[in-house]
């Protein structure tokens, strides 16, 4: 039985209430951290654990905490990024609605470590019922003395505020999130200055993902070294993967980083294999923004080694033959899925969600969507394929925030690995534009 850090008690009835959570050992980490440790020691444990940001970029959380500027007389803020809206990713949603106290406990410990007296949880606007669950849980914690003034008699004050977002994907970018939290239009800021120096209300701010923060109680209880012992290499600990698509058992799974992709896809403990009678065609391993990989490359790296569910192994081979772990949105396509249609769909999402601030992303995402729409509906021409590659190259790296990259990667990778299918769409426009038509040419199915 694999180790469970976040989801151990997730199926216990009533775990969303304070009492049941407390019975299962909840809030002991807060007591330990606030009463027996200094903030520096908590940060040190986070560094030792090697836990990496679970929102997508995979930046070590302890290191991010270490960058926080600490000028005298200026408040510091911790903001939890719960604006999860990437297609294919739904892990934070699941975690917050089933076990809200885990996040709140993590927020108390992290705020204590960073010296923040006011912390925010920025929740995606569509998840109104999750916001109510979180607010209920905060009220309970406040009544029991774990939040508010003078927590557990130690003199440490913490106010926790849940802020609903307006439902924009771009507000999951940390600086756009801060703008939105300040009540402005959610446009990403130019960096530098980074939020660790000038963030929310021009004060030093740390923005962390829900899942990263939820790891903190376990790390405090068991020590950073114990956490670092789980996983493989620099990918330590466990990770929530939200599996969807053509598999037998879609859902949210907690895996130890380092499980092989093959095991995760086929074992009954996790996804339970591709649906009966079908074969794997392609796989998006980390949410819609990461490069899509064909079946043979997702199972084995270009060197013939087994591909593992870890930050390093998935990105092995760069973007030529690799992908990224991203936020853990595991989307599986069998041979009935049309890659062109899927790419167009992803592209449509990024076109819709671009904030419109910088020109490459504002104009480029719309252009790519229109060209893909044309190809999918049988009006494409051969030079459209190269045009798409060129547009994606011109967007990538030239934008203010990573949304431009996120829009460019799926298109570039789909053409890189499935160019035949794009060409088939162009040479057989009538056939390809029929609903449900899929390229049946030579493909390496697994």
């Amino acid at each position: 039985m694999a180790i469970k850090i976040l989801t151990e008690h997730i199926n216990t009835p009533g775990i969303e209430t304070f009492d049941v959570y407390r019975q299962k050992g909840g809030y002991t980490a807060v007591e330990k951290a606030i009463k027996t440790m200094t903030p520096e020691e908590v940060v040190e444990e986070a560094k030792k654990s090697g836990v990496r940001g679970r929102g997508g970029a995979g930046f070590p959380m302890g290191m991010k905490w270490g960058f926080l500027a600490k000028p005298e007389g200026v408040p510091r803020y911790l903001v939890c990024n719960a604006d999860e809206s990437e297609p294919g990713t739904f892990k934070d949603h699941h975690l917050m609605k089933t076990i809200p106290h885990l996040l709140i406990e993590g927020m108390i410990i992290s705020s204590f470590a960073l010296g923040a007296n006011k912390s925010f949880i920025y929740v995606r606007g569509e998840l109104m019922y999750v916001i109510r669950i979180l607010e209920q849980a905060i009220e309970e914690a406040k009544a029991k003395g774990f939040l508010g003034k003078n927590i557990l008699g130690t003199g440490y004050d913490l106010e926790l505020i849940v802020q609903p977002g307006g439902g924009a994907y771009i507000c999951g970018e940390e600086t756009a999130l801060l703008e939105s939290l300040e009540g402005k239009r959610g446009n990403p800021r130019n960096k530098p200055p980074f939020p660790a120096v000038k963030g929310l209300y021009q004060s030093p701010t740390v923005v962390n993902n829900v899942e990263s923060i939820s790891n903190m109680p376990w790390i405090i209880n068991n020590g950073g070294d114990a956490y670092a012992a789980i996983g493989v290499g620099r990918s330590t600990g466990t990770k929530l993967i939200s599996a969807s698509g053509h598999i037998n058992k879609p859902g949210v799974y907690e895996i130890e980083l380092g499980v092989s992709v093959e095991e995760f896809l086929n074992s009954d403990e996790y996804c339970g294999g591709v649906r009966k009678g079908h074969h794997l065609k392609a796989l998006v391993a980390g949410g819609s923004s990461v490069p899509i990989l064909p079946a043979h490359l997702i199972m084995k790296t270009a060197n013939g080694e087994d591909r593992l569910m870890s930050y390093e192994s998935l990105s092995d081979g760069g973007f030529a033959t690799g992908t990224m772990l991203g936020s853990g949105g595991f989307i599986v396509f069998d041979e009935t899925a049309c890659i062109v249609r899927n790419t167009w769909n992803f592209s449509r999402f990024y076109h819709h969600e671009s904030c419109g601030q910088c020109s490459p992303c504002r104009e480029g995402t719309g252009w790519m969507e229109k060209v893909l729409h044309r190809i999918e509906h049988g009006h494409g021409s051969m030079h459209d394929i190269d045009l798409l590659v060129d547009i994606s190259k011109k967007i990538e790296g030239n934008t203010i925030c990573p949304l431009g990259d996120a829009a460019a990667w799926p298109v570039a990778s789909a053409i890189r690995h499935f160019r035949d299918e794009f060409m088939w769409h162009i040479t057989n426009p009538h056939e390809a534009s029929q609903p449900g038509a899929v390229y049946q040419g030579e493909m390496a199915l697994v």
């Binding site: 924009a168 771009i170 239009r185 130019n190 076109h351 819709h352 969600e353 671009s354 904030c355 419109g356 601030q357 910088c358 020109s359 490459p360 504002r362 104009e363 480029g364 995402t365 719309g366 252009w367 229109k370 044309r374 045009l387 011109k394 790296g397 030239n398 934008t399 203010i400």
Partner: protein, 371 residues
């Protein structure tokens, strides 16, 4: 007590060393080079959204992206991505590549393409033509043909107040007018609505902008999206003669440029510097109501840049040379054009052909009349 000057920072920009104060941006350092030596003006990165008199502007259009080959003397690593030169501050020992780097020029070309795909390209009927930053930018860095085949984004024209018309179709969303309204007027009524390529500058429920400094949004607009309703379709910019003038105004500094056609003042604008930026914003009374020479004290002709379209013979290559990199880019492009038309160089043939064409045209019009 002696004044202590801040330690100057030395950077290398396209192989030219320059010393600037700490906290200066790369763009300002480049402008300093060009101000010292006018022949280097082509080195300065183009700015479509950055506007020095408006703090916090910049970083949006990505036209000024440059490569930093060496971050600083302490940390000589190159920066991983191209950086916007308008908001990136210089560091001691920084090495910046602008026109000397092909990747930068390629990116700039793609930025022109991105800005133009939803631009109507209606320069022949646009009042801004001739003093349009996008036109200059596209002329220097753009491609001759488009790869965009889809419909362009269009909006209806909106009248915002009695003096200003907003033609959103031409807008490149630089946010300059938003910052202007935000920073120099009392009540901000317009901003950016919607998102992505559907974003538009607008006033909420088409409310009129009504304050004494609203006319300045016309001056800051790099394209013809915000135009002066008292000047619309009155004249082409290059037929007018700019004269510096001032008057005693109780609201603003009163320093303006008058644009003459013959004896008539047909437009009043604020004075712009070499970089097309207004330093002293003017009020609506000066701009829209004082259109007689007797209202003003004339100072003399405005200095016009040689590269400006208002300057005579702007497009004669033998008089105004394009910068070297632009010539190189043009050569690589024009060679690829498959132009197989038989060009006639013989003078007599040309004359003969034109007579023939005239005859044909006359004949056609005669036929049309008779029918």
């Amino acid at each position: 007590m002696e004044e202590t000057k801040p330690q100057l920072v030395k950077i290398t920009f396209d192989g030219i060393e320059v010393e600037v104060e700490p906290g200066t941006t790369i763009m300002q350092a480049a402008r300093k080079i060009a101000e010292a030596d006018e022949s280097q003006a082509a080195l300065v990165p183009p700015a479509m959204c950055y506007y020095k008199p408006l703090p916090t502007s910049g970083g949006k259009c990505r036209a000024c992206l440059v490569r930093v080959a060496q971050g600083s003397a302490k940390d000589p690593r190159p920066m991983p991505k191209l950086v916007p030169s308008c908001i990136t501050q210089v560091q001691e020992g920084m090495v910046v590549e602008n026109t000397s780097n092909q990747a930068v020029l390629d990116t700039r070309k793609s930025i022109v393409e991105f800005l133009l795909i939803n631009h109507p390209l209606d320069c022949p009927i646009c009042d801004q033509a001739g003093e349009c930053h996008l036109q200059d930018f596209a002329f220097e860095h753009g491609s001759v043909n488009t790869r965009y085949e889809e419909d362009r984004r269009t909006f209806d024209k909106i009248d915002i107040g009695p003096y200003v018309q907003l033609h959103m179709t031409r807008c490149i969303l630089c946010y300059r007018c938003v910052y202007t309204a935000d920073q120099i007027t009392d009540k901000r009524l317009h901003g950016v609505m919607n998102r992505g390529d559907a974003s538009e500058i607008s006033t909420y429920i088409e409310k009129a902008i009504d304050n004494d400094f609203s006319g300045n949004v016309i001056d800051v607009c790099p394209v013809g999206a915000l135009t002066d309703k008292t000047f619309r379709f009155k004249n082409r910019v290059w037929f007018t003669k700019p004269e510096d003038a001032h008057r005693d105004c109780d609201k603003c500094c009163g320093k303006t440029t008058l644009w003459y056609r013959g004896d008539e003042v047909i437009r009043v604008t604020a004075r712009k510097n070499t970089w097309g930026e207004v330093n002293d914003f003017i009020c609506n009374t000066c701009r829209f109501e004082k259109k007689k020479t007797s209202d003003w004290v004339l100072e003399g002709p405005t200095k016009v840049k040689r590269s400006s379209v208002i300057s005579a013979n702007k497009y004669r290559a033998d008089l105004v040379r394009k910068p070297d990199f632009a010539i190189k880019m043009a050569e690589t492009q024009y060679k690829r054009i498959d132009d197989t038309r038989p060009y006639v160089t013989d003078d007599d043939t040309i004359r003969h052909q034109s007579i023939e064409n005239n005859d044909k045209a006359n004949h056609r019009s005669l036929l049309a009349k008779n029918n």
